[in-house]
Structures are given as structure tokens and as C-alpha cells.
């Protein structure tokens, strides 16, 4: 297990170094998230819908789609000059490769969230100070599930001609239960309900995470065994 985690971290560090150098996917995702916020903001009628009712939906729509940009890049960097062959021919286990990619994606999505959540609070005049802890917990738990599913489908879609179309088509149906749970939990938090009421959604998110991370880690080797 230590070998798997050590190789996974090595792969994640390599992916993050590449993203840090190019910054292409990160900037795209951040710009997409901010533009999404702006569009929703100007389409919003504050007299018809309150900010606390609208913000959770906006937040999770933005995360879902901006996250897809990073997920697509995840295995995209491996296709140039068949770098994936070098990884697969190395002693790193398939599970370590998957987890490494997923860790890098999680940090990527986390970085986008770190910019998008304060921006959301700014646009919709939300006071997040009191609910910051539970909101961060929701964001992390939801990101883990989204990243697990998205990383697996990124690996499956990357070698197809329509990878950019196929990834959202495959991943979005599996994102739905996670996004519903995350949006419901966020809505309860922002509307000032007691944190205890969010507990059930957090447990559901945790259950999704355990299932998706385990299932996707076990399924990944089958996507690369030819």
C-alpha cells in the first residue's frame, strides 16, 4: 500500500508540475467559473429568487463543468508522444497511476474551488464565515467523488476521437447523485439551517466517495489492459 501511495504521489506531483508550467487547464477552468458566475448573476432577478436559494445551484453547476476541463487534461498530457506507455511499462501499479491522476485532479478542482467560492460570496453577497467549515467539508467530499468518476472516464475517453464530447456524456450521469447531495447540503447551510441537518447529506457524500473511489480504482486497470 505504501508503494502504491508513494508512486501515486510521484505521478500527482508530475502532473501538477506540468500544469504549473503550462497553466492552460487551470486558467481555462477559473475563467469558465468566473464567467459562469457573471452570467448567472446578470440573469438573476433578486426580487424573484433569493441569493441563498440560487447560489448553491450556481456553485455546483460551475464546479461540475469547470472540473471537466481539468479532468479532460488529466490523461490528455499522457497521449502526446505516448507518454502513457512509459507509465504503464513502469513498475507503478495501475491503481497507483489512477490514484496519482485522481490526487492531481483533486488538487486542481480544489484550487478552482478556492477561487470560485469567495467569488460566489462576493457576487451574491453571502456571509460564509459562520458556515465555512461545513461548506469546505461539502466541497472536499463532493470533489473527491467527482474526481474519482471523472478521472476514470477521462482515461476511457482519451483515446477516442471525440474525447472532449465523450467525457461529459459518460461522466455527467454519474456526477448527478454527488451534485444533488452537495447542492442540497449547501442550500441548507446557506439558508441558515442547523449544521446537524447537513449531516445526513455529508454522510451520503462520504458513502458516494467510498463507493466511487473504490470502484473506479478497481475498474481503471481494465481500461488500459488491451
Amino acid at each position: 500500500m505504501a508503494d502504491i501511495l508513494s508512486a501515486a504521489w510521484l505521478i500527482a506531483r508530475k502532473d501538477l508540475s506540468i500544469e504549473f508550467r503550462t497553466r492552460s487547464a487551470f486558467f481555462s477552468a477559473v475563467v469558465f467559473a468566473l464567467l459562469g458566475l457573471v452570467i448567472f448573476y446578470y440573469a438573476w432577478d433578486p426580487t424573484a429568487v433569493t441569493a441563498t436559494d440560487l447560489a448553491p445551484g450556481v456553485l455546483w453547476v460551475i464546479f461540475t463543468f469547470s472540473g471537466l476541463l481539468g479532468l479532460h487534461r488529466s490523461f490528455g498530457v499522457e497521449t502526446a508522444d505516448h507518454a502513457i506507455d512509459g507509465l504503464l511499462a513502469s513498475p507503478a501499479s495501475r491503481e497507483a497511476i489512477f490514484l496519482g491522476k485522481a490526487i492531481a485532479n483533486l488538487i486542481f478542482v480544489g484550487a478552482v474551488q478556492a477561487i470560485a467560492i469567495p467569488a460566489l460570496a462576493l457576487f451574491y453577497n453571502l456571509r460564509l464565515g459562520a458556515v465555512a467549515g461545513p461548506l469546505i467539508a461539502i466541497a472536499i467530499l463532493a470533489a473527491i467523488g467527482l474526481v474519482a468518476v471523472g478521472t476514470l472516464f477521462s482515461a476511457m475517453a482519451v483515446n477516442t476521437r471525440l474525447a472532449e464530447l465523450l467525457l461529459p456524456m459518460l461522466a455527467l450521469p454519474f456526477f448527478v447523485p454527488i451534485v444533488i447531495a452537495a447542492a442540497q447540503a449547501t442550500a441548507k447551510l446557506l439558508s441558515g439551517r442547523p449544521v446537524i441537518e447537513v449531516g445526513a447529506w455529508l454522510k451520503l457524500l462520504l458513502a458516494f466517495d467510498i463507493v466511487f473511489v473504490a470502484a473506479c480504482t478497481l475498474a481503471y486497470p481494465f481500461t488500459v489492459e488491451d
Binding site: I11, S17, A83, A89, S90
Partner: protein, 246 residues
């Protein structure tokens, strides 16, 4: 063809392949290949495009599963997991490098992936052998194709593999790069590394080889050991295979 071909009898073979076949749907890319290769020996594999050479190498590298038959690397049956893969160095006409990273970072990443402790000296040595130390911190995307291929070779050698699988390794190399590669493969052979090299260049292949084979339609059309390799007749067989391939 004999049912079993051995390339060196004294030491236990690094590679043992028996009736290995690999199919893609109804197409047999490799159709029952049998051979073994001892430490320090080099098998040069010739054949027209689509003969199954690359598929054979990919099976031995653990990138493809055999459909039938068996293959062992250092006694470990394939696909043998991390232990078998750690014994193999793979060179391809694809560089398998990350273009945003530098040669040093690419080779260092591979060294760490192979669990080499204190990898810095090994990385420097690998890059030095391929004359890439001066450009070690330049991003791969800024290097010429030949230089990228040199880095790719340094990457494949950094963990001192017992078996080197080289698929058209001279592709993109200039004369000096080709000389450096030939010298490196010679050094590896002397140190006991077994090598399988796929090339379309008979002269290059035969200069390295202790054994040679011509592949056609997934099978060994001809196989000879070093003392029986005759460049002229090999060239004729190779031309026949190319002609038969259309």
C-alpha cells in the same frame, strides 16, 4: 523453423517465449513465436510494416496481454506485474516524454518511478551517456526530434534494465546520436543486459546482433545465430518479406 530457438545456453535466459500469439479481433499480429534470449545477447528483429514486431515487443513490455502461449522475463511469467516491468527498459520511436518538463525532470521522474534511491547520480549519468547534460534543463518541447530521442533512451536506461526492448531506436537520431546509442547498447550487452532491437536498417541491426530474425505475418520467417548471420542472404530474405507484404 525449429519449435524452440535458444540464444545462448550457458546462463538462464532473460526472455523465454513459447508459442506466443496475440490477436486483435480476427487478425493475428503475433502467431506462435518461440525463442529465448540469454543475458548479454542481442536479437535483431527485421520485417515489413505490420509483421508483428512492435506487437511482440509490447507484449514483452507488459503493455499487451498475450492471447495464447507464454512469455517469461527473468523467470517471471507475463504479464508479470511490477516486478517483471522493473527489469525492462522500453525504447520506442515514440519518445514517451512530457514536453513541458525538462530532460532532467523526465529522467528523474522515471528513476523515482522505478524506485531508484539517490537517483540524482543515475539521472546525470544517463543524460551524460547520451550527451544531453548541456541541455538537461531545456523543456523537451524546445529540443529537436533527435535530442528528444536521446532523452528517451536515457529515460529507458536509467534503472539499468536486464532486458532492453528497442523499437526503431535509431529513429530521429543523427549520426552522433546513433553512434552514442550503438556504444550504449554495446556497453549494456557487455554488462549482461539482453536486448531485442526492432529496426528496418539491416546494417545497424546486424552490427549489434548476436541473433537475428525476420518476421512476417506474425511468425519468424527466418532465424539465425551470430555465427550463421550472412548479411547478403539476410538482405535477400528481408527483401522477399517486404515484397510479399506488398
Amino acid at each position: 523453423m525449429p519449435s524452440a530457438i535458444s540464444t545462448g545456453a550457458s546462463a538462464p535466459p532473460i526472455v523465454e517465449v513459447a508459442e506466443l500469439a496475440r490477436e486483435f479481433g480476427s487478425r493475428r499480429a503475433v502467431a506462435g513465436v518461440t525463442f529465448s534470449l540469454a543475458p548479454g545477447k542481442c536479437l535483431a528483429l527485421f520485417g515489413p510494416n505490420g509483421a508483428g514486431k512492435t506487437t511482440l515487443l509490447r507484449v514483452l513490455a507488459g503493455l499487451l496481454k498475450p492471447t495464447s502461449g507464454s512469455a517469461r522475463v527473468a523467470g517471471i511469467p507475463l504479464p508479470g506485474g511490477p516486478l517483471a516491468r522493473s527489469r525492462i527498459g522500453l525504447i520506442s520511436h515514440h519518445t514517451m516524454l512530457y514536453e513541458a518538463l525538462s530532460p532532467r525532470e523526465n529522467v528523474s521522474f522515471t528513476a523515482q518511478l522505478y524506485g531508484i534511491r539517490d537517483s540524482r547520480a543515475r539521472v546525470e549519468d544517463s543524460l551524460r551517456r547520451m550527451s544531453m547534460l548541456e541541455r538537461a534543463d531545456t523543456p523537451i518541447r524546445s529540443l529537436s526530434r533527435g535530442m528528444q530521442q536521446r532523452v528517451s533512451i536515457a529515460r529507458a536506461m536509467v534503472h539499468s534494465p536486464q532486458l532492453v526492448l528497442a523499437d526503431e531506436p535509431y529513429s530521429g537520431l543523427d549520426e552522433s546520436g546513433a553512434r552514442a546509442l550503438t556504444a550504449l547498447l554495446g556497453e549494456l550487452r557487455s554488462a549482461g543486459t539482453a536486448i531485442i532491437v526492432v529496426t528496418h536498417n539491416l546494417a545497424e541491426g546486424l552490427s549489434l546482433a548476436t541473433h537475428a530474425a525476420v518476421m512476417q505475418r506474425g511468425k519468424f520467417l527466418r532465424y539465425d545465430s551470430a555465427d550463421r548471420i550472412d548479411a547478403g542472404s539476410y538482405a535477400a530474405t528481408y527483401r522477399e518479406a517486404l515484397a510479399a507484404n506488398g
